[in-house]
Amino acid sequence: MTAQNTELPLIGDYSTAGPVLSGARIGVVTFPGTLDDRDAARAVRLAGGEAVALWHAEPEGAAALSALDAVIIPGGFSYGDYLRAGAIARFAPLMDAIIAAAGGNRRSGNDAGPGTLGGSAAGLPVLGICNGFQILTESHLLPGSMIKNENLKFLCQDQALRVENSTTAWTREFTAGEEITVPLKNQDGQYVADEKTLDRLEGEGLVTFRYVGGNPNGSRRDIAGITNAAGNVVGLMPHPEHAVEPGFGPDSAEGMRLGTDGLGIFTSVVASIAGGSK
């Protein structure tokens, strides 16, 4: 609209990183229709990592991933939620590489930088937020699926969560049972799976985040986020990347919009990369 907008971008270029403390290189995937890639990249930088933009059609997906320590699939409406949320994105060329890397089939890198898990069988840490979570379930990296919210409404609210599992690559900076508040915004957020799968998730401690203070969307067993058995893949419906900077987060006890509870997700993975296993 005005020249001021271009002179004062609210969200910086991925390359204009702040001080990178850890050397952790974290890819942020963009599909057509992805909305929150810039927020996720900013969260990575605020956590001390370096955010690397990944385009969904990247032809050399495996090579691109081998230079990274973790990947975030951010929220939005990839491919307009056509067919089912996340269903088309799952077949993007880059997703095949992410699925392989998350399962531990990583190219052992000669280019393994500081802190890179190069050469080990450990799966690439992958975080799916909202639509990213839907893509991870469509990819069968995580069990279950999402259907429309019970009340059919698009929800946009600050949401209290309990961190149930603090041993994953993305939650180790939290303590088990800790309550955090981050924004929730979705229409297809009702987590469903058959009873057997739900029992297994509960039994193996794979439920990672649970809604507290009321179930907003009808998700089975109040599940807001889950992990795989290895703890490297985590998906959640709420948006930790929107609660990383004072002034732009949810209201907190300290004051309006001062909540930064989401930052722990990103510092967790940076710490995982820097420190190996907990």
Binding site: A87, F91, E138, P143, I147, V192, A193
Partner: protein
């Protein structure tokens, strides 16, 4: 051109919020004869040339792997649309 129809429905045990909302709207418009509604989707795959057994097998595979999500949906029908049914739908 011949057409293969694929019908996908939410699994019976999965709550169908959209169907529930439609069921709620029907009596408001005076349609009181229905106890419940479930909403699915129909895909029409147009085939160039003959519908061979191979093409039909491809349609079944696509129905299971892309058109439906087996966690929440069932493929309830994969069938070739007959000429007469096609004519009917065009004249309707």
């Amino acid at each position: 051109m011949p057409t293969i129809v694929v019908d996908v429905m939410p699994k019976p045990e999965i709550l169908d919020p959209q169907g529930k909302a439609i069921a709620g709207a029907l009596p408001r418009l005076g349609f009181t004869g229905f106890a419940s509604v479930r909403q699915g989707r129909r895909f029409e795959l147009t085939v160039e040339g003959e519908v061979t057994e191979d093409v039909l097998a491809q349609a079944r595979k696509a129905a299971e792997e892309l058109l439906s999500n087996p966690v929440i949906e069932d493929v309830v029908n994969v069938a070739v649309l007959t000429e007469s049914a096609q004519d009917e739908s065009q004249s309707a």
